[in-house]
Amino acid sequence: MGMTMTQKILAAHAGLAKVEAGQLIEADLDLVLGNDITSPVAIHEMEKMTVDTVFHKDKIALVMDHFIPNKDIKSAEHCKCVREFACKHEITNYFDVGEMGIEHALLPEKGLTVAGDVIIGADSHTCTYGALGAFSTGVGSTDMAAGMATGKAWFKVPSAIKFNLIGKPSKWVSGKDVILHIIGKIGVDGALYRSMEFTGDGVKNLTMDDRFTIANMAIEAGGKNGIFPVDELAEAYMKEHSQRPYKVYEADEDAVYDEEYTIDLSKLEPTVAFPHLPENTKTISQMTEDIVIDQAVIGSCTNGRIDDLRIAAGILKGRKVKKGVRCIVIPATQSVYLQAMEEGLLKIFIEAGAVVSTPTCGPCLGGYMGILAEGERCISTTNRNFVGRMGHVKSEVYLASPAVAAASAITGKISTPEEVG
Protein backbone atom coordinates (compact mmCIF):
# COMPACT_ATOMS: atom_id res chain seq x y z
CA MET A 1 0.00 0.00 0.00
CA GLY A 2 1.54 3.29 -1.10
CA MET A 3 1.62 6.69 0.51
CA THR A 4 -0.04 9.93 -0.45
CA MET A 5 2.07 13.02 -1.09
CA THR A 6 1.30 14.34 2.40
CA GLN A 7 2.17 11.02 4.02
CA LYS A 8 5.54 10.92 2.23
CA ILE A 9 6.49 14.39 3.46
CA LEU A 10 5.44 13.55 7.01
CA ALA A 11 7.32 10.24 6.96
CA ALA A 12 10.51 11.95 5.81
CA HIS A 13 10.23 14.55 8.60
CA ALA A 14 9.58 11.88 11.21
CA GLY A 15 12.60 9.85 10.10
CA LEU A 16 10.39 6.96 9.03
CA ALA A 17 10.44 4.97 5.81
CA LYS A 18 6.70 4.59 5.89
CA VAL A 19 3.67 5.97 7.69
CA GLU A 20 0.01 5.18 7.39
CA ALA A 21 -3.21 7.02 8.09
CA GLY A 22 -4.01 7.25 11.81
CA GLN A 23 -0.41 6.80 12.94
CA LEU A 24 0.84 9.29 15.54
CA ILE A 25 4.23 10.75 14.66
CA GLU A 26 6.57 13.47 15.81
CA ALA A 27 7.90 15.51 12.90
CA ASP A 28 10.70 18.05 12.49
CA LEU A 29 9.48 21.48 11.50
CA ASP A 30 10.93 23.66 8.75
CA LEU A 31 8.97 26.73 9.79
CA VAL A 32 6.80 27.87 12.69
CA LEU A 33 4.52 30.83 11.99
CA GLY A 34 2.50 33.22 14.12
CA ASN A 35 0.74 36.56 13.72
CA ASP A 36 -0.10 39.51 15.97
CA ILE A 37 -3.19 37.79 17.40
CA THR A 38 -1.88 34.29 18.01
CA SER A 39 1.79 34.98 18.82
CA PRO A 40 1.22 36.89 22.09
CA VAL A 41 -0.64 33.86 23.47
CA ALA A 42 2.15 31.56 22.26
CA ILE A 43 4.85 33.80 23.72
CA HIS A 44 3.04 33.80 27.06
CA GLU A 45 2.89 29.98 26.94
CA MET A 46 6.54 29.73 25.95
CA GLU A 47 7.53 31.93 28.86
CA LYS A 48 5.92 29.39 31.17
CA MET A 49 8.12 26.64 29.72
CA THR A 50 11.40 25.59 31.21
CA VAL A 51 13.23 26.58 28.01
CA ASP A 52 14.56 30.02 27.31
CA THR A 53 15.64 29.83 23.69
CA VAL A 54 13.90 29.19 20.40
CA PHE A 55 14.90 26.11 18.41
CA HIS A 56 16.13 28.09 15.38
CA LYS A 57 15.99 31.84 14.86
CA ASP A 58 15.72 31.48 11.06
CA LYS A 59 12.86 28.98 11.18
CA ILE A 60 10.31 31.11 12.96
CA ALA A 61 8.21 33.68 11.13
CA LEU A 62 6.32 36.35 13.05
CA VAL A 63 4.10 38.47 10.85
CA MET A 64 2.16 41.46 12.15
CA ASP A 65 -0.81 41.49 9.81
CA HIS A 66 -4.21 41.23 11.47
CA PHE A 67 -4.72 44.49 13.35
CA ILE A 68 -1.88 46.59 11.95
CA PRO A 69 -1.04 49.40 11.64
CA ASN A 70 -2.37 49.03 15.18
CA LYS A 71 -6.08 49.70 15.32
CA ASP A 72 -6.20 50.41 19.05
CA ILE A 73 -4.14 50.38 22.23
CA LYS A 74 -4.67 46.70 22.95
CA SER A 75 -3.53 45.71 19.44
CA ALA A 76 -0.50 47.93 19.89
CA GLU A 77 0.32 46.11 23.14
CA HIS A 78 0.09 42.77 21.34
CA CYS A 79 2.47 43.88 18.59
CA LYS A 80 4.83 45.33 21.17
CA CYS A 81 4.92 41.99 22.97
CA VAL A 82 5.82 40.19 19.73
CA ARG A 83 8.33 42.85 18.69
CA GLU A 84 10.17 42.51 22.00
CA PHE A 85 10.17 38.73 21.75
CA ALA A 86 11.51 38.89 18.17
CA CYS A 87 14.24 41.28 19.28
CA LYS A 88 15.20 39.22 22.33
CA HIS A 89 15.47 35.99 20.33
CA GLU A 90 16.89 37.66 17.20
CA ILE A 91 14.13 36.22 15.04
CA THR A 92 15.28 36.66 11.44
CA ASN A 93 11.85 36.59 9.87
CA TYR A 94 9.99 39.16 11.92
CA PHE A 95 7.86 41.34 9.65
CA ASP A 96 6.44 44.58 11.02
CA VAL A 97 4.73 47.56 9.42
CA GLY A 98 6.58 48.63 6.28
CA GLU A 99 7.83 45.20 5.35
CA MET A 100 4.96 42.96 6.36
CA GLY A 101 2.24 41.53 4.20
CA ILE A 102 -0.62 39.16 4.87
CA GLU A 103 1.28 36.17 6.18
CA HIS A 104 0.17 33.54 3.66
CA ALA A 105 0.91 35.78 0.71
CA LEU A 106 4.14 37.04 2.26
CA LEU A 107 5.94 33.83 3.21
CA PRO A 108 5.94 32.18 -0.25
CA GLU A 109 6.91 35.53 -1.78
CA LYS A 110 9.86 35.77 0.65
CA GLY A 111 10.88 32.23 -0.28
CA LEU A 112 10.34 30.92 3.24
CA THR A 113 8.06 28.08 2.17
CA VAL A 114 9.12 25.52 -0.41
CA ALA A 115 8.13 22.08 -1.65
CA GLY A 116 8.71 19.25 0.79
CA ASP A 117 8.59 21.45 3.91
CA VAL A 118 6.62 20.71 7.06
CA ILE A 119 5.18 23.98 8.35
CA ILE A 120 2.89 24.79 11.24
CA GLY A 121 1.32 28.16 11.77
CA ALA A 122 -0.92 29.61 14.42
CA ASP A 123 -3.36 30.68 11.78
CA SER A 124 -5.86 28.37 10.16
CA HIS A 125 -4.99 29.43 6.62
CA THR A 126 -1.43 28.13 7.00
CA CYS A 127 -2.58 25.36 4.64
CA THR A 128 -1.90 27.83 1.77
CA TYR A 129 1.68 26.60 1.21
CA GLY A 130 0.38 23.28 -0.08
CA ALA A 131 0.21 25.11 -3.41
CA LEU A 132 4.01 24.72 -3.54
CA GLY A 133 3.96 21.05 -2.53
CA ALA A 134 4.64 21.58 1.18
CA PHE A 135 2.78 20.03 4.09
CA SER A 136 1.45 22.99 6.05
CA THR A 137 -1.31 23.16 8.59
CA GLY A 138 -2.90 25.50 11.09
CA VAL A 139 -2.46 24.97 14.81
CA GLY A 140 -3.17 26.97 17.96
CA SER A 141 -0.89 29.12 20.04
CA THR A 142 0.20 26.37 22.44
CA ASP A 143 1.34 24.19 19.54
CA MET A 144 3.12 27.22 18.12
CA ALA A 145 4.88 27.74 21.46
CA ALA A 146 5.96 24.10 21.62
CA GLY A 147 7.09 24.33 17.98
CA MET A 148 9.16 27.46 18.63
CA ALA A 149 10.78 25.82 21.64
CA THR A 150 11.45 22.36 20.23
CA GLY A 151 11.23 22.54 16.42
CA LYS A 152 8.91 19.58 16.52
CA ALA A 153 5.20 18.87 16.49
CA TRP A 154 3.12 15.73 16.82
CA PHE A 155 0.64 14.81 14.11
CA LYS A 156 -1.89 12.14 13.43
CA VAL A 157 -1.07 11.06 9.87
CA PRO A 158 -4.11 12.02 7.79
CA SER A 159 -5.93 9.98 5.21
CA ALA A 160 -6.72 11.84 2.01
CA ILE A 161 -9.32 12.81 -0.53
CA LYS A 162 -8.10 13.02 -4.11
CA PHE A 163 -9.39 15.75 -6.39
CA ASN A 164 -8.61 14.93 -9.98
CA LEU A 165 -8.76 18.24 -11.83
CA ILE A 166 -9.29 18.07 -15.58
CA GLY A 167 -9.95 20.60 -18.31
CA LYS A 168 -9.30 24.30 -18.55
CA PRO A 169 -11.32 26.95 -16.72
CA SER A 170 -13.18 29.50 -18.82
CA LYS A 171 -12.21 33.17 -18.81
CA TRP A 172 -13.95 34.35 -15.64
CA VAL A 173 -13.42 31.17 -13.61
CA SER A 174 -10.52 31.30 -11.15
CA GLY A 175 -9.06 29.28 -8.30
CA LYS A 176 -11.67 30.82 -6.00
CA ASP A 177 -14.50 29.37 -8.06
CA VAL A 178 -12.77 25.97 -8.06
CA ILE A 179 -12.45 25.81 -4.28
CA LEU A 180 -15.91 27.25 -3.62
CA HIS A 181 -17.32 24.62 -5.97
CA ILE A 182 -15.47 21.89 -4.07
CA ILE A 183 -16.56 23.15 -0.64
CA GLY A 184 -20.13 23.39 -1.91
CA LYS A 185 -19.87 19.77 -3.00
CA ILE A 186 -18.30 18.21 0.10
CA GLY A 187 -19.38 20.64 2.84
CA VAL A 188 -17.53 22.56 5.55
CA ASP A 189 -16.57 19.32 7.30
CA GLY A 190 -16.26 17.23 4.14
CA ALA A 191 -12.50 16.86 4.55
CA LEU A 192 -12.41 16.93 8.36
CA TYR A 193 -9.02 15.70 9.69
CA ARG A 194 -7.97 14.75 6.12
CA SER A 195 -5.66 15.93 3.35
CA MET A 196 -7.09 17.36 0.18
CA GLU A 197 -4.73 16.28 -2.60
CA PHE A 198 -5.24 18.06 -5.90
CA THR A 199 -3.92 16.37 -8.99
CA GLY A 200 -4.66 15.78 -12.67
CA ASP A 201 -4.06 17.37 -16.07
CA GLY A 202 -6.12 20.41 -15.13
CA VAL A 203 -3.52 21.57 -12.59
CA LYS A 204 -1.34 22.96 -15.38
CA ASN A 205 -4.18 25.29 -16.32
CA LEU A 206 -4.17 26.92 -12.89
CA THR A 207 -1.81 29.80 -12.15
CA MET A 208 0.25 29.76 -8.95
CA ASP A 209 -2.08 32.39 -7.52
CA ASP A 210 -5.07 30.13 -8.34
CA ARG A 211 -3.35 27.28 -6.51
CA PHE A 212 -2.58 29.43 -3.46
CA THR A 213 -6.26 30.37 -3.31
CA ILE A 214 -7.39 26.75 -3.56
CA ALA A 215 -4.95 25.42 -0.95
CA ASN A 216 -5.74 28.40 1.30
CA MET A 217 -9.36 27.37 1.63
CA ALA A 218 -8.78 23.65 2.34
CA ILE A 219 -9.50 24.53 5.98
CA GLU A 220 -12.97 25.75 4.97
CA ALA A 221 -13.77 22.14 4.08
CA GLY A 222 -12.32 21.07 7.45
CA GLY A 223 -9.14 19.78 5.78
CA LYS A 224 -5.88 19.33 7.64
CA ASN A 225 -4.01 20.45 4.55
CA GLY A 226 -4.42 20.96 0.83
CA ILE A 227 -1.58 20.04 -1.49
CA PHE A 228 -0.63 20.29 -5.15
CA PRO A 229 1.93 18.33 -7.16
CA VAL A 230 5.11 20.25 -7.95
CA ASP A 231 5.22 21.04 -11.68
CA GLU A 232 7.37 23.36 -13.78
CA LEU A 233 5.28 26.37 -12.82
CA ALA A 234 5.74 25.70 -9.10
CA GLU A 235 9.47 25.10 -9.57
CA ALA A 236 9.82 28.34 -11.50
CA TYR A 237 8.01 30.18 -8.69
CA MET A 238 10.32 28.74 -6.04
CA LYS A 239 13.46 29.44 -8.08
CA GLU A 240 12.34 33.04 -8.51
CA HIS A 241 11.50 33.60 -4.84
CA SER A 242 13.69 31.32 -2.76
CA GLN A 243 17.31 30.45 -2.19
CA ARG A 244 16.31 27.38 -0.22
CA PRO A 245 16.58 23.92 -1.75
CA TYR A 246 13.24 22.23 -2.21
CA LYS A 247 12.32 18.59 -2.38
CA VAL A 248 9.67 17.20 -4.66
CA TYR A 249 7.50 14.39 -3.35
CA GLU A 250 4.98 12.52 -5.46
CA ALA A 251 2.12 10.34 -4.32
CA ASP A 252 2.70 6.63 -4.93
CA GLU A 253 0.76 5.06 -7.79
CA ASP A 254 -0.94 2.78 -5.28
CA ALA A 255 -1.60 5.45 -2.64
CA VAL A 256 -4.92 4.93 -0.92
CA TYR A 257 -7.58 7.65 -0.87
CA ASP A 258 -10.78 7.70 1.19
CA GLU A 259 -12.63 9.31 -1.67
CA GLU A 260 -11.90 10.53 -5.19
CA TYR A 261 -13.60 13.31 -7.11
CA THR A 262 -13.10 14.40 -10.69
CA ILE A 263 -13.67 18.10 -11.28
CA ASP A 264 -13.92 19.31 -14.88
CA LEU A 265 -12.65 22.89 -14.66
CA SER A 266 -14.14 23.74 -18.05
CA LYS A 267 -17.63 23.15 -16.67
CA LEU A 268 -17.29 25.46 -13.67
CA GLU A 269 -18.98 28.85 -13.51
CA PRO A 270 -18.42 31.91 -11.33
CA THR A 271 -19.53 30.73 -7.89
CA VAL A 272 -20.66 32.59 -4.78
CA ALA A 273 -20.93 31.28 -1.20
CA PHE A 274 -24.03 32.69 0.47
CA PRO A 275 -24.23 33.49 4.19
CA HIS A 276 -23.38 32.03 6.62
CA LEU A 277 -21.21 29.12 5.54
CA PRO A 278 -18.67 28.68 2.73
CA GLU A 279 -20.59 25.54 1.66
CA ASN A 280 -23.73 27.52 0.75
CA THR A 281 -22.63 27.91 -2.84
CA LYS A 282 -24.54 28.86 -5.96
CA THR A 283 -23.29 29.69 -9.40
CA ILE A 284 -24.35 33.17 -10.45
CA SER A 285 -26.54 31.60 -13.13
CA GLN A 286 -28.40 29.74 -10.38
CA MET A 287 -29.23 32.94 -8.51
CA THR A 288 -32.90 33.74 -8.84
CA GLU A 289 -32.99 37.26 -7.46
CA ASP A 290 -30.76 40.32 -7.27
CA ILE A 291 -28.50 40.54 -4.22
CA VAL A 292 -27.87 44.23 -3.66
CA ILE A 293 -24.56 44.99 -1.92
CA ASP A 294 -23.21 47.80 0.27
CA GLN A 295 -19.52 46.89 0.14
CA ALA A 296 -17.02 44.96 -1.95
CA VAL A 297 -13.72 43.77 -0.47
CA ILE A 298 -10.93 42.65 -2.79
CA GLY A 299 -7.94 41.28 -0.91
CA SER A 300 -6.97 38.86 1.91
CA CYS A 301 -4.68 35.82 2.15
CA THR A 302 -7.12 34.14 -0.22
CA ASN A 303 -7.26 36.71 -3.02
CA GLY A 304 -4.91 39.65 -2.50
CA ARG A 305 -2.14 38.60 -4.89
CA ILE A 306 -1.10 40.34 -8.09
CA ASP A 307 -3.20 38.16 -10.41
CA ASP A 308 -6.24 38.94 -8.27
CA LEU A 309 -5.61 42.68 -8.50
CA ARG A 310 -4.96 42.51 -12.25
CA ILE A 311 -8.27 40.75 -12.80
CA ALA A 312 -10.17 43.24 -10.63
CA ALA A 313 -8.46 46.20 -12.30
CA GLY A 314 -9.23 44.81 -15.75
CA ILE A 315 -12.91 44.99 -14.89
CA LEU A 316 -12.86 48.32 -13.03
CA LYS A 317 -10.78 50.09 -15.69
CA GLY A 318 -12.66 53.07 -17.06
CA ARG A 319 -15.72 52.26 -14.95
CA LYS A 320 -17.08 53.56 -11.67
CA VAL A 321 -17.98 51.86 -8.43
CA LYS A 322 -21.72 52.31 -8.02
CA LYS A 323 -22.73 55.25 -5.86
CA GLY A 324 -23.45 53.98 -2.36
CA VAL A 325 -21.11 50.98 -2.61
CA ARG A 326 -17.79 51.02 -0.74
CA CYS A 327 -15.10 49.17 -2.66
CA ILE A 328 -12.01 48.34 -0.59
CA VAL A 329 -8.92 46.96 -2.33
CA ILE A 330 -6.13 45.52 -0.19
CA PRO A 331 -2.91 44.34 -1.86
CA ALA A 332 -1.70 41.42 0.25
CA THR A 333 1.95 42.44 0.54
CA GLN A 334 4.18 45.47 0.09
CA SER A 335 5.62 43.85 -3.01
CA VAL A 336 2.17 43.26 -4.51
CA TYR A 337 1.29 46.86 -3.60
CA LEU A 338 4.38 48.18 -5.37
CA GLN A 339 3.84 46.01 -8.41
CA ALA A 340 0.20 47.12 -8.60
CA MET A 341 1.42 50.70 -8.49
CA GLU A 342 3.99 50.16 -11.23
CA GLU A 343 1.44 48.44 -13.44
CA GLY A 344 -1.00 51.31 -12.99
CA LEU A 345 -3.56 49.18 -11.17
CA LEU A 346 -3.82 51.49 -8.16
CA LYS A 347 -4.66 54.38 -10.44
CA ILE A 348 -7.44 52.33 -12.00
CA PHE A 349 -8.85 51.46 -8.57
CA ILE A 350 -8.72 55.04 -7.30
CA GLU A 351 -10.20 56.48 -10.46
CA ALA A 352 -13.00 53.96 -10.24
CA GLY A 353 -13.84 55.21 -6.75
CA ALA A 354 -12.33 52.35 -4.75
CA VAL A 355 -10.02 52.84 -1.77
CA VAL A 356 -6.66 51.10 -1.60
CA SER A 357 -5.27 50.09 1.78
CA THR A 358 -1.95 49.03 3.16
CA PRO A 359 -1.76 45.22 3.55
CA THR A 360 -3.91 43.96 6.44
CA CYS A 361 -6.26 41.12 7.32
CA GLY A 362 -8.55 43.83 8.82
CA PRO A 363 -11.99 43.44 7.25
CA CYS A 364 -11.80 39.70 6.56
CA LEU A 365 -12.26 38.87 10.24
CA GLY A 366 -14.23 41.94 11.22
CA GLY A 367 -11.20 43.56 12.81
CA TYR A 368 -11.21 47.00 11.18
CA MET A 369 -11.03 48.69 7.74
CA GLY A 370 -14.50 47.84 6.49
CA ILE A 371 -16.80 46.71 9.31
CA LEU A 372 -20.43 46.14 8.33
CA ALA A 373 -23.48 47.69 10.04
CA GLU A 374 -26.70 45.82 10.81
CA GLY A 375 -28.38 44.57 7.67
CA GLU A 376 -25.48 45.42 5.34
CA ARG A 377 -24.16 43.08 2.68
CA CYS A 378 -20.65 42.63 1.37
CA ILE A 379 -19.31 40.73 -1.60
CA SER A 380 -15.86 39.67 -0.56
CA THR A 381 -12.89 37.77 -1.94
CA THR A 382 -12.08 36.59 1.60
CA ASN A 383 -12.57 33.08 2.96
CA ARG A 384 -15.30 33.04 5.62
CA ASN A 385 -18.87 34.26 5.77
CA PHE A 386 -19.84 33.11 9.27
CA VAL A 387 -22.38 35.03 11.36
CA GLY A 388 -20.82 38.37 12.35
CA ARG A 389 -17.58 37.62 10.53
CA MET A 390 -17.23 41.12 9.05
CA GLY A 391 -19.19 43.08 11.61
CA HIS A 392 -22.75 43.13 12.92
CA VAL A 393 -24.34 39.72 13.57
CA LYS A 394 -27.10 40.73 11.18
CA SER A 395 -24.72 41.67 8.36
CA GLU A 396 -24.03 39.30 5.47
CA VAL A 397 -20.88 38.25 3.62
CA TYR A 398 -20.97 36.64 0.16
CA LEU A 399 -17.70 34.99 -0.88
CA ALA A 400 -16.59 35.23 -4.49
CA SER A 401 -13.67 35.72 -6.87
CA PRO A 402 -11.99 39.08 -7.54
CA ALA A 403 -13.73 39.18 -10.95
CA VAL A 404 -17.18 38.83 -9.40
CA ALA A 405 -16.39 41.23 -6.55
CA ALA A 406 -15.14 43.90 -8.99
CA ALA A 407 -18.13 43.47 -11.33
CA SER A 408 -20.51 43.62 -8.37
CA ALA A 409 -18.90 46.83 -7.10
CA ILE A 410 -19.78 48.43 -10.45
CA THR A 411 -23.38 47.19 -10.71
CA GLY A 412 -24.18 47.37 -6.97
CA LYS A 413 -25.50 43.82 -7.01
CA ILE A 414 -23.83 40.43 -7.27
CA SER A 415 -22.86 40.17 -10.94
CA THR A 416 -20.58 38.42 -13.38
CA PRO A 417 -18.02 40.41 -15.37
CA GLU A 418 -20.12 39.89 -18.49
CA GLU A 419 -22.90 41.91 -16.92
CA VAL A 420 -20.82 45.08 -16.71
CA GLY A 421 -20.60 45.09 -20.51
Binding site: T50, G121, S124, V139, G140, V188, G388
Partner: protein, 163 residues
Protein backbone atom coordinates in the same frame (compact mmCIF):
# COMPACT_ATOMS: atom_id res chain seq x y z
CA UNK B 1 -12.17 13.11 37.15
CA UNK B 2 -15.74 14.15 36.63
CA UNK B 3 -17.67 17.09 35.23
CA UNK B 4 -21.21 17.89 36.19
CA UNK B 5 -23.47 20.73 35.12
CA UNK B 6 -26.37 22.17 33.17
CA UNK B 7 -26.33 21.89 29.39
CA UNK B 8 -26.18 24.65 26.79
CA UNK B 9 -27.16 23.08 23.47
CA UNK B 10 -26.09 24.24 20.01
CA UNK B 11 -26.33 22.93 16.44
CA UNK B 12 -23.90 22.17 13.61
CA UNK B 13 -20.79 24.18 12.67
CA UNK B 14 -20.50 26.44 15.72
CA UNK B 15 -17.54 28.47 14.45
CA UNK B 16 -14.79 30.24 16.37
CA UNK B 17 -16.09 33.62 15.22
CA UNK B 18 -19.33 33.14 17.17
CA UNK B 19 -17.50 31.54 20.11
CA UNK B 20 -15.27 34.62 20.43
CA UNK B 21 -15.75 37.33 17.80
CA UNK B 22 -12.54 38.78 16.33
CA UNK B 23 -13.45 42.25 17.56
CA UNK B 24 -12.39 41.01 21.01
CA UNK B 25 -9.13 39.41 19.88
CA UNK B 26 -7.22 42.54 20.77
CA UNK B 27 -7.18 40.92 24.22
CA UNK B 28 -5.68 37.60 25.25
CA UNK B 29 -6.85 37.83 28.87
CA UNK B 30 -8.96 34.72 29.63
CA UNK B 31 -11.29 36.55 32.05
CA UNK B 32 -11.98 39.31 29.52
CA UNK B 33 -12.49 36.83 26.67
CA UNK B 34 -14.93 34.89 28.87
CA UNK B 35 -17.21 37.92 29.15
CA UNK B 36 -17.83 37.70 25.38
CA UNK B 37 -17.99 33.92 25.07
CA UNK B 38 -20.65 32.70 22.58
CA UNK B 39 -21.76 36.33 22.17
CA UNK B 40 -22.69 36.12 18.48
CA UNK B 41 -24.70 32.90 18.79
CA UNK B 42 -26.22 33.21 22.28
CA UNK B 43 -26.22 36.57 24.01
CA UNK B 44 -27.65 35.02 27.19
CA UNK B 45 -24.82 32.51 27.57
CA UNK B 46 -22.48 34.66 29.66
CA UNK B 47 -25.33 35.72 31.94
CA UNK B 48 -26.60 32.18 32.53
CA UNK B 49 -23.46 30.03 32.56
CA UNK B 50 -22.39 28.65 35.95
CA UNK B 51 -19.13 27.02 36.89
CA UNK B 52 -19.20 23.40 35.78
CA UNK B 53 -21.81 23.78 33.03
CA UNK B 54 -21.50 21.75 29.86
CA UNK B 55 -21.82 22.65 26.17
CA UNK B 56 -23.35 20.04 23.88
CA UNK B 57 -23.36 20.55 20.11
CA UNK B 58 -23.86 18.71 16.85
CA UNK B 59 -21.28 18.43 14.03
CA UNK B 60 -17.99 20.28 13.46
CA UNK B 61 -17.87 22.32 16.68
CA UNK B 62 -15.14 24.98 16.63
CA UNK B 63 -14.71 25.24 12.88
CA UNK B 64 -12.97 28.26 11.39
CA UNK B 65 -9.96 30.04 12.73
CA UNK B 66 -7.10 28.65 14.78
CA UNK B 67 -7.64 31.15 17.60
CA UNK B 68 -6.86 29.45 20.87
CA UNK B 69 -8.89 32.28 22.38
CA UNK B 70 -12.01 30.20 21.57
CA UNK B 71 -11.40 27.27 23.95
CA UNK B 72 -9.75 29.71 26.39
CA UNK B 73 -12.97 31.78 26.49
CA UNK B 74 -15.12 28.68 26.98
CA UNK B 75 -12.91 27.37 29.76
CA UNK B 76 -12.64 30.73 31.49
CA UNK B 77 -16.44 31.09 31.36
CA UNK B 78 -16.55 28.08 33.68
CA UNK B 79 -17.54 25.36 31.21
CA UNK B 80 -16.29 21.97 32.43
CA UNK B 81 -16.70 19.94 29.23
CA UNK B 82 -17.80 20.24 25.59
CA UNK B 83 -19.53 17.28 23.99
CA UNK B 84 -20.16 17.21 20.23
CA UNK B 85 -20.76 14.79 17.39
CA UNK B 86 -17.48 15.96 15.85
CA UNK B 87 -14.99 18.78 16.40
CA UNK B 88 -12.99 20.80 13.89
CA UNK B 89 -9.42 19.58 14.15
CA UNK B 90 -7.60 22.75 15.20
CA UNK B 91 -10.18 23.40 17.93
CA UNK B 92 -9.79 19.82 19.15
CA UNK B 93 -6.03 20.19 19.48
CA UNK B 94 -6.29 23.59 21.10
CA UNK B 95 -8.87 22.45 23.65
CA UNK B 96 -6.70 19.57 24.84
CA UNK B 97 -3.61 21.77 24.84
CA UNK B 98 -5.20 24.34 27.15
CA UNK B 99 -6.85 21.70 29.34
CA UNK B 100 -10.49 22.00 28.29
CA UNK B 101 -12.04 18.50 28.26
CA UNK B 102 -13.90 17.68 25.05
CA UNK B 103 -15.59 14.45 23.98
CA UNK B 104 -16.85 13.27 20.61
CA UNK B 105 -20.07 11.30 21.12
CA UNK B 106 -22.83 11.52 18.48
CA UNK B 107 -25.30 9.54 20.61
CA UNK B 108 -24.92 11.89 23.58
CA UNK B 109 -25.23 14.91 21.32
CA UNK B 110 -28.55 13.56 20.04
CA UNK B 111 -29.81 12.37 23.44
CA UNK B 112 -29.14 15.53 25.44
CA UNK B 113 -31.29 18.67 25.37
CA UNK B 114 -30.74 22.23 26.59
CA UNK B 115 -30.97 22.57 30.38
CA UNK B 116 -30.52 18.84 31.03
CA UNK B 117 -28.28 18.03 33.99
CA UNK B 118 -25.37 15.93 32.76
CA UNK B 119 -22.45 14.18 34.44
CA UNK B 120 -19.30 13.11 32.57
CA UNK B 121 -16.81 10.60 33.96
CA UNK B 122 -13.50 11.13 32.12
CA UNK B 123 -12.01 7.85 33.38
CA UNK B 124 -14.73 5.69 31.88
CA UNK B 125 -16.00 8.04 29.16
CA UNK B 126 -19.54 7.58 30.47
CA UNK B 127 -21.89 10.51 29.91
CA UNK B 128 -24.94 10.34 32.19
CA UNK B 129 -28.02 12.46 31.50
CA UNK B 130 -29.40 12.86 35.02
CA UNK B 131 -32.54 14.67 33.81
CA UNK B 132 -33.60 11.88 31.46
CA UNK B 133 -31.92 8.98 33.23
CA UNK B 134 -30.07 7.96 30.04
CA UNK B 135 -26.42 7.05 29.60
CA UNK B 136 -23.96 7.23 26.69
CA UNK B 137 -20.50 5.78 26.17
CA UNK B 138 -18.00 8.37 25.02
CA UNK B 139 -14.29 7.78 24.54
CA UNK B 140 -12.44 7.51 27.86
CA UNK B 141 -9.64 10.02 28.35
CA UNK B 142 -6.25 8.32 28.32
CA UNK B 143 -4.16 8.97 31.41
CA UNK B 144 -1.83 11.48 29.73
CA UNK B 145 -4.79 13.51 28.51
CA UNK B 146 -6.29 13.60 32.00
CA UNK B 147 -2.94 14.77 33.29
CA UNK B 148 -2.84 17.57 30.70
CA UNK B 149 -6.30 18.64 31.82
CA UNK B 150 -5.38 18.43 35.52
CA UNK B 151 -2.25 20.48 34.83
CA UNK B 152 -4.46 23.09 33.12
CA UNK B 153 -2.74 22.59 29.79
CA UNK B 154 0.11 21.08 27.79
CA UNK B 155 2.77 23.55 28.87
CA UNK B 156 2.30 22.91 32.59
CA UNK B 157 2.09 19.20 31.89
CA UNK B 158 5.45 19.26 30.08
CA UNK B 159 6.97 21.36 32.85
CA UNK B 160 5.66 18.96 35.51
CA UNK B 161 7.18 16.02 33.64
CA UNK B 162 10.54 17.75 33.42
CA UNK B 163 10.66 18.56 37.14
Amino acid sequence: MKACGTVFKYGDNVDTDVIIPARYLNSSDPAELATHCMEDIDKEFVHRVKKGDIIVADKNFGCGSSREHAPIAIKAAGVSCVIAQTFARIFYRNAINIGLPIIECPEASMGIAADDEVEVDFDSGIIYNKTKGTQFQGQAFPEFMQKIIQAEGLVNYINNKNK
